[in-house]
């Protein structure tokens, strides 16, 4: 057995009178290994990461021990912690754009790894590190600002900064959840190539199974089980079994859409500031089908979705709608971030039943709206949730199920869903997909935009692949299966 690098013993973290976030966990990380910490949102993963960095928010109370290279991090003073941070423990954050100061160039951002310790990187070192992390033409791109870089590239630059001092341990908190699947794999490869031990925090079990040496599954502040991917896949723990069975996506392959065309666009184009966001797109949406649209970030997926939804007028081309689409509430959206897409000051019954207040519908009393909301909650498996609760009191998975319930409550003709599952953990993702699938069976057309091609291939009836604002591949899944992935 290789050396133990980090060991938590009965580590407990709580805030005053509030809930105990981490409840007596035992965890070890060995030198050079990739340990994945997997669990639903709110299960204490990020708190553990912050405890390892000695960056718990003020007021946090800890007990037990957290030993890194023989020192107990929980008892170290701030100056000693600063020596560990960056030098012995590297940190990679979730969203690379938010992890970079928007006012500074990428060069400044990477060389800050030295600057914060009062050092100056040797000439050319920053470029060299970026090149090692797989960034072509680093010398030119380095003086650009974060918003001019792609997410995948910027995340690799962040990794180059996090590994500047060859730390023994890298803490990566959801390092790929803002990236496309293919880029996520490349970023994880860069992470592991650094030679450091990696604590990989993720809610994406599928991704973790492809990369981690060992997996620790946590829920509600406890570690349920730790082991290799093979060992866990035959675990007898019911929660673990559920988690593993949810890695797949509800498959709908082989269904043929029978419905009529409810929306069709010919030669759709959109320009922003003289630049073509999308051009020459032909799309038809049939009642009761699930149409997937995929492609790399910035390819125009969301723009196409906005045009289909009538939120913007196309710059070129024509859009034909069936008569059913002329009444308000017939096109409903589901957005990526479930918590912010519900009004944070409204009780959920109010958000949920808002589509029922459209002008052409009979007026409902508050009592009737509450009853309808309770029934809808029951249908999406949230019967135990109080309709009076606020979105902030619920998990993101619950909020997204409420968003789907809101989209379906008025029996719309089309649901336009933009990355509805990318902020969700594995189990919540499956629940949301099941709800969308159920809506399609009731005759609602679902247009599902996602960067997760694996998921769409399983779940959608047809998948359109976009690249640089154009539809690269069209047609049913079976016809395009042989086409190589273009990105």
């Amino acid at each position: 057995m290789s050396d133990v690098l980090l060991a938590c013993k009965r580590l407990t973290i709580g805030y005053g009178a509030g809930p105990t976030v981490v409840q007596g966990i035992d965890l070890t990380i060995r030198a050079g290994e990739c340990l994945a910490l997997v669990g639903p949102s709110g299960s204490g993963k990020t708190t553990i990461a912050r405890a390892i960095l000695g960056l718990l928010p003020p007021g946090a109370q800890t007990s037990g021990s957290l030993t890194f290279q023989g020192q107990d991090v929980l008892t170290l003073d701030e100056a000693a912690l600063r020596q560990l941070r960056g030098r012995a423990i590297g940190y990679v954050a979730q969203d690379p754009y938010q992890a970079c100061d928007p006012l500074r160039t990428v060069q400044t951002h990477v060389s800050a790894a030295w600057a914060v310790h009062g050092e100056r990187p040797a000439a050319g070192v920053v470029c060299e590190r970026l090149a090692q992390a797989g960034i072509a033409d680093a010398a030119r791109a380095i003086d650009q600002y974060p918003h001019q870089w792609s997410g995948g590239m910027l995340q690799r630059a962040s990794i180059a900064a996090a590994t500047a001092h060859a730390p023994a341990l890298l803490v990566a908190d959801e390092p790929t959840s803002a990236l496309d699947t293919d880029r996520a794999d490349a970023v994880l490869a860069t992470l592991k190539a650094s030679g450091s031990a990696v604590l990989l925090i993720s809610h994406d079990l599928g991704l973790v199974l492809r990369h981690a040496d060992r997996i620790a599954l946590c829920d509600e502040g406890r570690i349920l089980e730790t082991g290799t991917p093979q060992a866990l896949s035959i675990s007898s723990n019911r929660y673990v079994q559920n988690l593993f069975s949810a890695v797949g996506v509800p498959s709908r392959k082989g269904r043929e859409h029978q419905g009529e065309i409810c929306l069709s666009g010919r030669g759709l184009g959109m320009r922003y500031g003289g630049h073509d966001a999308i051009s020459d797109c032909d799309v038809s949406v049939y009642a009761g089908e699930i149409l997937g649209i995929t492609g790399p970030s910035g390819c125009g997926k969301s723009t196409l979705l906005r045009l289909l939804g009538g939120l913007e007028r196309p710059y070129a081309g024509t859009l034909k709608r069936s008569v059913a689409l002329n009444r308000p509430g017939s096109i409903m959206p589901v957005f990526q971030d479930p918590v912010v897409s519900l009004n944070s000051r409204w009780a959920i019954w109010r958000s949920l039943t808002e589509p029922l207040t459209a002008r052409h519908l009979p007026r409902l009393s508050q009592k009737q709206r509450r009853d309808r909301a309770a029934a809808a909650l029951e249908q999406v498996g949230l019967g135990a949730v109080d309709p009076e609760s606020l979105p902030g009191q619920l998990s993101s998975g619950q909020c997204q199920r409420i968003s789907v319930a809101r989209a379906t409550i008025g029996q719309p003709a089309i649901i336009l869903a933009d990355e509805p599952t990318s902020a969700l953990d594995t189990i919540a993702r499956q629940q949301v997909l099941n709800l969308l699938s159920g809506a399609a069976l009731d005759g609602t057309a679902i247009v599902l935009v996602s960067h997760d091609q694996h998921m769409l291939n399983q779940f959608a009836d047809r998948v359109l692949v976009m690249q640089d604002g154009r539809l690269a591949v069209r047609g049913p899944f079976s016809q395009r299966a042989a086409v190589a992935r273009p990105f």
Binding site: R85, G86, G90, Y91, C100, D101, H117
Partner: protein, 315 residues
Amino acid sequence: MTPGLASAIFGRLAQAVLTALAASMLVWALLPLAPGDPVLRIFEARNILEPNDLQIANLRAEMALDQPLPNQFAHWLIRVTQGDLSVSYRTGRPVLSELLDRLPATLLLLGSALAGSIALSLLLSIIAVAWHGKWPDRAIMLYTQLGAALPTFVLALLVLQYVVVGAGVGKVLANGSASLVLLPALTIAVDRAAGWTQLLRASLLDAGAANHAMVARARGATPRYVLLRHSLPNGIVPFLTAIGISIGGLIGGAPIIEEIFTWPGIGRYLLQALSARDYPVIQGFVLISGLSYVGASLIVDLVTMLIDPRLRRPA
């Protein structure tokens, strides 16, 4: 300079010129809307109490008052750009030279007040954030609450009563010189800085809670490094915008402060002009304060463009 920055700056300059033009149109409209015949008022100011019809017609033609309104405006605008702001009804002297005589004193007062309040609010908000939640922060918050609630002239009266008369510091009758500017400037600064400190403190706290600040901490940065290198540049943009907007308020508030401290600036002169309904002078003051506002917000926008690369794309 990148092409994006150049065209963004050009666009902003063009916008400033348009704003100045629109503002001057409003300023010009003061005169046709004012009661009384401006030609008769001017003769009065020249001590010609009963001008004959020929004199009146000549002056009317000279000022283009016999022409339709758009032509009157064009004529007025050309005269203004040549530095002719007409004559004061009260003294008969050209308005421009009357204002220019008094402008240095006002610039000295408002300039030092502005510099003082910027320095004060920067200092206080950095202290408040560095000791967030501790007693220095609470003390500063108390000051900002009081300062924001209190009108400037109340503080000015208190300063005059207790510091100048009571303690004998400074003079009751100021002559507008640099040696006496400290008290009135500090009075304005202490009052102005209250609101700005609240704003800057809040944006510094927001910027400090951003993910990039957490990443910097996780790389071993000290709180001071994060505050000065990341939070300050990110948090200062709304602060600068607020300063640009309140320049107008600063100039509009000058008359009261100048009156209390008997400061011989254009603000006091405006009060005299107001009570005498001396419209050309009022017009001149409004023109100066409007153009200062346009100039200040132009400078603020250019500075924020230099700070934030994301603003450098043309709109």
